[in-house]
Structure formats: structure tokens, C-alpha cells
Symmetry: C2
Subunit: 456 residues, 2 copies
């Protein structure tokens, strides 16, 4: 972060209604009001640099009362000179001060960067929509760049009329737009054997939520005709790793879509541009990217990605296939290891987080400050939609004593997120996928936040 | 667009389940099926290059039946070699093939590029969420770059406790996330005197829709105390043009927010980073960007931006102040001048568009193909939320005869979008703001689409 010039004199701040002028005005207010302000104002005092973690190294203490020293440490030049041309960015970017808000990688996690995972920085996000530039990615053979004019989709097998569609053919079918969560089966997967990295971005950064637009597969199949003996669909992508999966016909005819837009604009290359399969509430890996064909047949293909991988190991050593949808899950996003309470004033403070379920609508989220002994219901602070990320928040009183913070989501199927102990009992500690145990953040008395497991 | 190599032989396409292999398989299907396909397949035939306008110059006709010529014109190399590294973009960007999907400017519209307008490319968008990089912009003195650690907000005047907040102070208050449309009062403003530019992006590109996160002003005022005699709020921004507006206290206490995030991430600089005022359903100009202070007082300030500008001229020559909220409005996004039906096969075709209202929820949208003589109700194809953009679509049968396409939105206040004739009668032709007349797109028999006005 480049520091601004320090040699601008406060007296130069002659803009009407400048902070300097109004600060002087406040100085004239009666002594009692100023005392009140002095007393109450401290409630929101916070070490901004710590809380904005990573933006800059400057320690900056909010001032407890209004006087000229309350001005920013460097007299800002904004508002005193023309800004940048408004046409400088035909496609806009975040502020340079947000350069730290990015997807992150764990280099040793995969054999190479073609098959890598990038994680969504939930510690920096608000609301439920994840901007496309920050949606987590998982590729098996690198990001494929497809020319949309040359893209084709073959639909064949047990259909009445086999077709090869261009992108514009596909776009002539009626489309719908739906807001849904999207989660990789391996989200939280590094936590099976015990606490993994001390990072919300890594523990829960493989879930996102977007508005998806595309054509319901049902619509296409009504047009070209599906033979009654078709029980499975095999979507295959133009992935150099040869990625395909078997999808049961019930899901295909329920809410499967061929999507080509995401949060309004075209799918991003790393999400399958120009067209991917979308199966609301199901694990990401089955939602084939860079789609090139759909084959309909009588039985499952038992391919690598559904027989040796993406199966769920149980505590008895057996593995279960076909664990497609993700169950109710939640995590606290503030505080978290990356957004701790170091330097934060004690007292009332907001704890907030995200909850989601691939099976239905989140009906309530409870929060515990004592590792699950006592629970209080949080409030929803966003729209609540089926199979979508939902925001929750609750005010807690932090007296500076250590806390064991947890959140626990319930969806409208009646399912409640399990404890780590319950999950280990059912599935052991050697699994990879679909880990949705209650997450514990240990808050130390100095405000530090750590990823811990409680198996008691 | 770089053309791919042409010298790869089809026989080299040995990937399992390649389009080439499967095409051969289809060639083996009985003659009758192939004839059916030949007959029905043509329904979706379209000149892809024309429909994808601007992406590439290659004319590319979808094939009416499946054979090896059905392969893309150049044998694609995707899927045959490793893709790009997955960690190449920590903050991701659209595909290079989408380089044409950008905000656009009309250079002569404003005196210089500090006070310019950029327009959202609705002709390229789907769903209701507009990606932040494509949200229209309107600045009065250029884009201001504020250091969030140095940003301060002064709240003063008729409050019990005057405060200066840092960004982290503000973020300690509980936040909410809401999905709402955002519209400039001048959207469609170039249409008052007659048809303006032949472009959806210009006629209706100053409306967008996002998920906004911030603190309800009510929450802050409950904390610091609002004096009963406070009737107006004056928000002022760090805009070099000195931009502020008077906001009645009723709106402040209803749903006004101080927002710091937009579609999950921090506000973009051109949208007021780090904090702007947000007033759901009201014209954009009053939602002050780069906020530096809020003053509470007994009466309106009658500043330039609410007395000489942003007033509504009536047909009797008088101008009305305080026309804050935008009324029900709609426009067809496909087809439109930029996304015509040139080269598109006649027959059933989807007409789609967006509707929005600052006063409530869209309850229905009607579509006419004959300039408003007959109407048919369209279907909603997205989530329908109050004060938000809503998607609609309807299938029409295009027989190649000219059409006068219109859409007409109604909201839950009972208000219906007026015709151009009704609007001219009420407000003349010399106005600038809040034009929400029914838009007419003339579809010529060659598929060309033009912006026309019907005053009959």
C-alpha cells in the first residue's frame, strides 16, 4: 500500500462541509454532549489495521472524541481534485486496497497446478452471492479455453432424436435463472483426521453461491424425446483428464440444467465456459464442465470418478457410492482465524456466518459460545432460499474470556448438522468427502482465533 | 480471434467419446430416425456468428444432421492437451471470447469523461444479478479512490451523540444483505424527444441489480440517538463536484442503509468505495457515494442536485422536485438492436426481458407483437423480489413479417407502465429524468431490430 503525501496542511481543506470544518463545529457543542460522546464513543473503538488484516501495516486507533486529530492520519486528497476518468474500466475491478481479497491455493494439496483447488475467501465476503472472480475452482486437467462458436453438444443414446447443438441452438430454448449454492464434495475435506490449516478460506472455501441461468434439461428432452428405458445420463466434458459421471434420470428430469451464465454474465472459463451441467444441491464434481456430450442409457457407467473417487468411506471400512447431495452445513465467518478479535474492544459484538444445504431450505441456525453446551438461535440477515447459502448473525457479549464458538444449521428436511464426534462415529477419520461437522473456532483471551476440534 | 490450426486430421481425435466417434455411431442409426432428425433438427438452425455478434467473423451454419462435417469447423484442441494452470487467476476474469461484453460510453453525452455515464450491456446479460464489473456508472467528478483505513464518516446535527466512525466502527454494527435494483434517474433519458441511439445498452443501460450489504441507518440512529425535531438528513460524498442531497427522515428510518459490499465483495471504487448511502427503489443520484458525512436538521438544504437538477419537468412548464423513487418499467432484452433476429430461423422463438419497480414487486408483464393492440402475459423466469429486477419471457411465433414488440410491467401498487403517448401528455418532451414509457422494438422482416416510438 502506497502511503499518501503527508505535507498537505489541514487549513487547505476548504471544501464545503469538509471533515475538518465540521469537526470544529462539533468542538463548539456543549461540554455535556462531548462528555457523553467521549464515554459512549469508545464502544466502537477498534484497531482498524488489525481488523482489516493485510490491507496495510499502519496501526490506526479510532479516536474517542471529535477534534482535528480525528481526521485521517494523512490528509486525504480525495474530494479535493478530480478523480479518475469514468471510462477507465469498461470491465471494472475491485479497489486496489482490496488486492488481498483473492482465491488462494494450497500448493502441496494436489500433484500439480492443473488439478489444483482454489478457495473462496469467505473471511472477506458479505451476503450470499459470490462474485465470479472469487468463486472457488477445482480442475482435473487445467482450465480449458473453448471458442463458443466452435463448441458443440452431442445428445445421444436413448433419445428419439439425436442432436448436435451449437451454443445458439441451446440459447433458443427457454431459460431460467436460479440462485443456488455450489459445493465441492471435498469442502472441509482436510479436517477428517483432525484440525487442518488455521484458515476459514481453506476449511470452508469450496462452497459458493450464484445466480445460474440455463435451460432445464427437461425442456430439451421434451423436445427431442427421451425413450422410457433411459434410466441414466452420462455427461462428458472436454476435460483433458476425461471427466464424466453417471446421473440418475430422476435428477435429470427434476431440476438439472445446462447453464451458460452465472451472476448475469457468461460462465467463467474455470467454471466450464461456455456450458456446464448444473444439478442444484449436488456435489460440484458431477456438474460436468466444458460439456461436450450427454448420453442416455439403461445403466450407470461406473466410471473412475464415481467408483474409485467421490465415494464415502464409512467407519466399518466400506465405501458408499452415489452420495450426491450435500447435507446442511454452516460456519462462522466472523470471527475466524483470518478475521480475529485481536485488538477489538470487549463488549457486545456480532458473530456472523453462512449456512447452506443441498437438500432444502435452512430453517434455523444455532450458535454456541461454549463448545456446544448451550445454544442460542441466530437471526437470518439475507434472503433465505432453497439449496442456497443463507446468512446468519447473533450478538454475543465478549468479556475477554476464551470462547469455543460454534454454529449448527438445520434444514427443512429436519436434518441437523452433526458434531465432529457423531461424524467420526459414523464415518471414521479416513474419509475425504462430504464433511459437514460443526466447526469450532477457539477464541483466545487475546482475540486470536484457532481452528480446533472437539470430540468430547 | 486467433484461428485454430486446420491441419489436425479427424482420425486423430481418439479421445474416448469424442464428438467424431459418436457422430460415426449416430450415422449407424436407422434411416427413419435420421430423416426425423433432418426434418426437426432444422428448427434450431441459426447463423451462430451473427447471433453471437462481435465474437468472431466466421460464418457458421449449424448442421441439420449429424455427420463428421458436424464437427466444429476447426478441430478444437481443447480436451486433447492440458489446460491452463488452475492458479493462473487469483481473481478471475471472463473468457477472452467475451471481450465484447463491457460497459459502454457515449462520448458526446457529457462535457468530459470525469462526469461520464457508462451503460450496462443488458443485451449480453442473463438473470437479475449484474456482475460488479458491468454495473453502470455515473460520476460527477471522476472516480474517487479512497484508502479504507483513512476513511471517516461524521454523523452530526440533530443527533444525541455526534460521532466520527471508522470503517471498522461501521462494520461492528449488525449488517443485512438485500437484493435490489439500482437505477439512475436519467435511464432512458435520451428518449424524451424521440428515438435516441439504436441500442438497448444506451436506452436502458442505467439500471442494474445487486445484492447489497450494509448497516440499516435505523440501527445506527437507535444507538447514537436522533432528536425528534430532525426531519431531513444531508448525506455528503467525497466527490470533487461537491455532491449531496436532502433525504426525508421517513426514508432514513424505513430502509436506508450504509452499504459497504455489493454482490459479496467490497463496493467498487466507481460505486462509492468504501461506503455509499443506499435507498432501495430511489434514483441513483441521491444514494451518495464515497460518503463522508450525514447531517440531520429540520429542513431540506435545497442544494443544486435537487433544485436545478433531478427535478421533473411537466408538460405545463413547471418542474416538480423530490421525485425520488422509480416507477414500474420494463424492456425486452432479446431481441434488441444489438441482438437482432438476422439470420435466425423463422418459427417459435423466445422473447425475453427485464422488469423492475422502485415502489414494489412486479406482479405481471404483458408482451405485444403489434405495437400495443393485443397483449399476452409473459412468464417470470427468475426469482421475483420487491424493488428488484425481474426476468420475464414468452414464446412468440415469428413468421418473418414485421413486428412491433413491446413489454408492459405492472407492480403490486397497481401501477402500470405508461405508453409513450401517455407520458408525453403528462410531461411533454423536454424532460430528462424518470422516463419509463413502454419501449417499442421494430422487428423488420430481415430480422433487423430498431428503436422506434409509437405516439398513436
Amino acid at each position: 500500500m502506497k502511503k499518501m503525501e503527508l505535507d498537505i496542511d489541514i487549513s487547505n481543506l476548504s471544501t464545503s462541509g469538509s471533515v475538518a470544518e465540521v469537526a470544529k463545529e462539533i468542538e463548539k457543542t456543549p461540554e455535556k454532549n462531548r462528555r457523553d460522546f467521549l464515554r459512549k464513543g469508545f464502544l466502537f473503538s477498534v484497531t482498524a489495521a488489525a481488523a482489516l488484516g493485510g490491507v496495510g501495516a499502519t496501526k490506526l486507533q479510532a479516536q474517542p472524541h471529535v477534534n482535528p486529530e480525528n481526521l485521517p492520519p494523512n490528509n486525504p486528497e480525495w474530494g479535493l481534485k478530480w478523480g479518475r476518468d469514468n471510462n477507465s474500466d469498461p470491465y471494472g475491478f475491485p479497489s486496489k486496497y482490496e488486492a488481498n481479497v483473492v482465491r488462494r491455493f494450497v500448493p502441496w494439496l494436489t500433484a500439480d497446478q492443473k488439478a489444483a483447488v482454489s478457495f473462496t475467501p469467505w473471511q472477506d465476503l458479505k451476503g450470499i452471492i459470490v462474485p465470479n472472480g472469487l468463486h472457488f475452482t477445482r480442475c482435473h486437467g487445467g482450465v480449458v479455453d473453448i471458442n463458443p462458436l466452435e463448441w458443440r453438444l452431442l445428445i445421444h443414446g436413448l433419445v428419439d432424436r439425436e442432436v448436435v447443438l451449437t451454443l445458439e441452438d441451446l440459447k433458443r430454448y427457454p431459460s431460467v435463472s436460479v440462485i443456488h449454492a455450489f459445493e465441492c464434495a471435498a469442502n472441509n475435506g482436510m479436517e477428517w483426521r483432525g484440525p487442518g490449516l488455521n484458515s476459514l478460506q481453506v476449511t470452508h472455501g469450496m462452497v459458493a453461491c450464484s445466480e445460474w441461468t440455463g435451460v432445464p434439461l427437461k425442456v430439451i428432452l421434451e423436445d427431442i424425446g427421451l425413450k422410457p428405458e433411459a434410466k441414466w445420463m452420462f455427461p462428458e466434458g472436454s476435460d483433458p483428464a476425461g471427466v464424466g459421471r453417471s446421473v440418475p434420470i430422476e435428477k435429470v428430469l427434476d431440476d438439472a440444467m445446462l447453464v451458460y451464465a452465472m451472476n448475469g454474465e457468461a460462465l467463467r472459463p474455470e467454471q466450464g465456459y461456455p456450458v456446464r451441467l448444473f444439478l442444484p444441491g449436488w456435489e460440484g464434481a458431477i456438474q460436468i464442465k466444458w460439456l461436450k456430450r450427454l448420453k442416455f442409457d439403461t445403466k450407470s457407467w461406473m466410471v473412475r470418478e464415481e467408483s474409485t473417487k467421490y465415494t464415502m468411506l464409512q467407519s466399518d471400512g466400506h465405501a458408499k457410492m452415489y452420495n450426491w447431495s450435500f447435507e446442511a452445513n454452516s460456519v462462522i465467518t466472523s470471527p475466524c482465524p483470518e478475521r480475529s478479535w485481536k485488538g477489538v474492544k470487549k463488549g457486545p459484538i456480532i458473530v456472523e456466518g453462512i449456512a447452506w444445504s443441498g437438500k432444502g431450505t435452512i430453517t434455523h441456525v444455532d450458535v454456541s459460545t461454549d463448545g456446544g453446551k448451550n445454544w442460542k438461535e441466530a437471526k437470518f440477515t439475507s434472503i433465505v432460499l432453497p439449496k442456497a447459502v443463507t446468512r446468519f448473525a447473533i450478538e454475543v457479549n465478549w468479556d475477554g474470556k476464551p470462547m469455543m464458538l460454534q454454529s449448527r444449521a438445520t434444514d427443512d428436511t429436519g436434518y441437523t448438522q452433526p458434531t465432529a464426534k457423531q461424524l467420526v462415529k459414523a464415518r471414521g477419520k479416513e474419509s475425504v468427502y462430504h464433511r459437514n461437522a460443526i466447526q469450532t473456532w477457539e477464541v483466545k483471551s487475546n482475540g486470536e482465533v484457532n481452528n480446533v476440534h472437539i470430540y468430547a
